[in-house]
């Protein structure tokens, strides 16, 4: 063993100072965590565009039934099903997960805990490659005979299990394989995140000196890895039902269709927290920096997160109140569901307490962070109605549910991502984004967002059912007032999509700028990623940093500057 150690060290040395890599090994087969993060980020954003385009196509059909949608054509009933199914699947599994966990996790964990790369870099590369393959399989599912899977993103059997109902024999199997591959990718990623944060921290960084966003990604990874197993088991069973002829979910032959719902939601509900927690962490980082204040109750925030994580495993059956579960069981799940709003509310209070008395700077990232809390609160509060089994029996499968989870997932996946992206853009590319354009994009996204989903709350409360392709066929839902609200939602969505062009333009001109104007630490932040060059070199630091204090020492009394980076000795 003794002789292999210097060889290893030499290899590492060689790795980090080798500047002339071929394009192929630098951009495609890189094991550098920052490059893999960028791959995840841009694949996720491309998938967001695809998912957004799907939303555009089916919202146009809902507002103007039967029209020839520009850029898509006529949306048929089976197209509609495939579009809504894959919109949901893509936005959760191919946008929220890769961007919030994989991209930010890969980029931030090594930089924030002060090491040169992930603990298992090749596993990390494999993770992205499997993820890319899963995205390709999913997109391919649209081009097989029968078209894409249209049985909703929850894939309940028998619709998903039997091709005589779904009419997409190949599409459903492709969808399932894509989802299973995607889980494998995140399993590999999650192992890396937890191990790196636990084992590769810089000297001096104690467990409570870890920035909160790293903690959130670690807890989210643990939640993901402990909840995904039953769904993988269920996916194997469903795949066999589809293709081998078993009958795990077929009551005719002794199977149980509700079983899938349990296996799916046992994963599905913790999954909400898997994507929520990283967004909460990003928000916390941004708020501390732009309020120039120490984070209020760091440890409480952390323990609250653990509590949320544990509770999130006990709430899944609130998705099944109308599926014929025992009312006594429904009562228990109502209680646990309402309980889980307590830790999340506590976290929101911690944000407010962090802001209180700070010297707040309304930069673009800060606006996104504030909007995250405000909008997510609406999503959380409307969840109370759905968690209570009595109210849920009325609201189930209406647009109220849809508006509720868009008020949670949009802040998570879109607002959280924009917050993080605009905040770390200077680090990623070494250049500042245009703040004015950033604010135009912010308001152009937030205002239409509310105009999309508030009408949908109203429609849902009025009894508008989901999964209906053309409301003209339902006289009690086809009234002028209801149709007007559908049109309002669709037009707001178009406005919001147009404003995304501002974002891409802003990215493009900022990236094109000749001079790198960001410097090492444009926001005057404390955490370690701001102590290296922007963008960080391969290997992150010429010499790895040492940590002397917690991440949020802002406005420390008796210091000239209002920030105190983690790596500065007293």
């Amino acid at each position: 063993m003794a002789e292999s150690i210097p060889a290893d060290a030499m290899h590492a040395h060689d790795d980090h100072h080798h500047t002339e890599q071929s394009i192929w090994s630098k951009y495609v087969f890189s094991t550098d965590h920052k490059m893999i993060a960028m791959q995840y980020m841009f694949t996720g954003m491309a998938m967001a565009l695809i998912g957004g385009f799907m939303a555009y196509a089916f919202r146009m059909q809902l507002a103007f039934p039967g029209i020839d949608v520009p850029g898509y054509g006529t949306v048929t009933a089976s197209d509609y099903n495939a579009l809504v199914t894959n919109h949901g699947t893509i936005m959760i599994f191919w946008v929220a997960m890769p961007v919030l966990i994989a991209a930010f996790g890969n980029y931030l964990i090594p930089l924030m805990v002060g090491c040169d790369d992930m603990v298992f870099p090749r596993l990390n590369r494999l993770s992205y490659q499997i993820f890319l393959l899963s995205a390709i399989v999913l997109i391919a599912s649209f081009f097989v005979p029968g078209g894409g899977f249209g049985g909703a993103w929850t894939a309940y059997p028998p619709l998903s299990a039997k091709s005589q109902y779904s009419l997409t024999a190949l599409g459903s199997s492709f969808w399932l394989v894509a989802v299973a591959l995607e889980f494998t990718a995140f399993l590999l990623g999650g192992i890396n995140f937890v191990t790196t944060a636990m084992n590769a921290r810089a000297p001096g960084m104690k467990i409570f000196d870890i920035p909160i966003v790293v903690w959130m990604i670690v807890v989210a990874s643990i939640l993901f890895m402990s909840s995904v197993g039953p769904l993988i088991a269920g996916a194997v069973m469903l795949f066999m039902d589809q293709n081998v002829g078993t009958a795990f979910f077929d009551p005719d032959k002794g199977g149980d269709p509700i079983l899938w719902q349990h296996l799916f939601w046992f994963f599905g509900h913790p999954e909400v927290y898997v994507v929520l927690l990283p967004a909460m962490g990003i928000t916390a980082e941004i708020m501390c920096v732009f309020a120039r204040k120490k984070m209020f109750a760091y440890k409480t925030f952390l323990y609250t997160t653990f509590a949320t994580g544990i509770l999130s495993f006990t709430v899944w059956a609130h998705h099944q109140f109308v599926a014929g579960i025992d009312p006594r069981m429904a009562n228990i799940f109502t209680v646990t569901t309402l309980l889980i709003s307590i830790p999340i509310a506590e976290m929101c209070f911690i944000y407010i307490a962090t802001l209180y008395g700070g010297s707040i700077r309304l930069t673009t990232p800060m606006l996104w962070a504030l909007a995250f809390v405000a909008e997510f609160l609406i999503g959380g509060v409307t969840g109370i109605f759905l968690g209570a089994s009595g109210a849920d029996i009325y609201f189930h499968d209406t647009y109220f549910v849809l508006a509720h989870f868009h008020y949670t997932f949009f802040p998570i996946a879109i607002i959280g991502t924009f917050a993080g992206f605009t905040y770390w853009f200077p680090k990623m590319f070494g250049k500042m984004m245009n703040d004015t354009l950033g604010k135009i994009h912010f308001w152009g996204t937030i205002i239409p967002f509310n105009f999309i989903f508030i009408p949908l709350f109203v429609l849902g409360a009025a009894g508008q059912h989901r999964r209906i392709y053309n409301y003209e066929h339902f006289p009690e839902l086809a009234g002028v007032e209801m149709q007007d609200m559908r049109v309002l939602a669709t037009v707001s969505m178009l406005v919001m999509l147009v404003f995304q062009l501002v974002f891409f333009y802003n990215c493009f001109i900022s990236w094109k700028k000749k001079q790198k104007d960001a410097g090492k630490n444009p926001w005057k932040a404390n955490t370690l990623e701001w102590t290296t060059d922007s963008p960080p070199p391969h290997g992150n630091w010429p010499e790895l940093p040492t940590v002397y204090r917690g991440p949020y020492e802002y406005s420390v009394p008796g210091r000239e500057e209002d920030y105190f980076p983690q790596n500065v000795p007293d």
Partner: protein
């Protein structure tokens, strides 16, 4: 000011991980795998509890005794892996023999299970013959896949050992996975066969 004075007292030492990264990574993976088997077992338990008779009429009886013997073989393989580890900490060359014995016993287990499968299929228990057959082949097959994967991991460790390149953390991670495969089996045997 108190926070500054306490901060200056901080002793900076290189953090020594509680568990080597390879072992921690493998443990996390094993937890995810356990949850997958928990999902399978709970599905199996629910369907079995709701069935009118188990195994369903007309389906062959599972070879309880032969599999009990096979279970013992698998447990013996874990014991030999334990001996291999003990030997490894003293003299690495002595670890080869128990490690390869452990692998041979593991391979015997997999082959014997395969032989059982062939016999059961001949007797009319197949993946699609009943929900009993579906669960039997799914659960036992899933474990078999893990056993094959475990043998591959051990084989790689054995190869490195004979070249004198086996790092302690790699060996420990391989052991974690094999102990998982072995430790899971009695549970599955108890729930599926009995």
């Amino acid at each position: 000011m108190t926070s500054r004075s306490t901060a200056s007292l901080r002793v900076i030492s290189d953090p020594r991980p509680v568990l080597p990264s390879a072992v921690l990574g493998m443990l996390i993976f094993v937890v995810a795998e356990m949850m997958m088997f928990a999902g399978l077992m709970s599905a199996y338990t629910i369907v079995r509890a709701g069935a009118l008779g188990w195994p369903p009429p007309g389906q062959p009886r599972l070879p309880v005794e032969a599999t009990a013997f096979n279970t013992a073989v698998l447990l013996a393989s874990a014991a030999f892996l334990f001996f291999a580890n003990r030997a490894y900490t003293r003299n690495r060359d002595l670890a080869k023999r128990p490690l390869f014995t452990a692998m041979a016993l593991g391979a015997f287990f997999v082959v014997f299970q395969g032989y059982e499968w062939v016999m059961l299929i001949r007797q009319g228990l197949t993946l699609t013959s009943s929900i009993h057959g579906s669960f039997f082949f799914l659960i036992v097959g899933m474990h078999g896949l893990h056993a094959v994967a475990g043998l591959t991991v051990l084989g790689r460790a054995g190869l490195k050992l004979s070249k004198g390149l086996l790092a302690p953390s790699t060996f420990a991670a391989a052991q974690v996975f094999w102990y998982f495969v072995v430790g899971l089996w009695p549970v599955l045997y108890f729930m599926v066969y009995l």
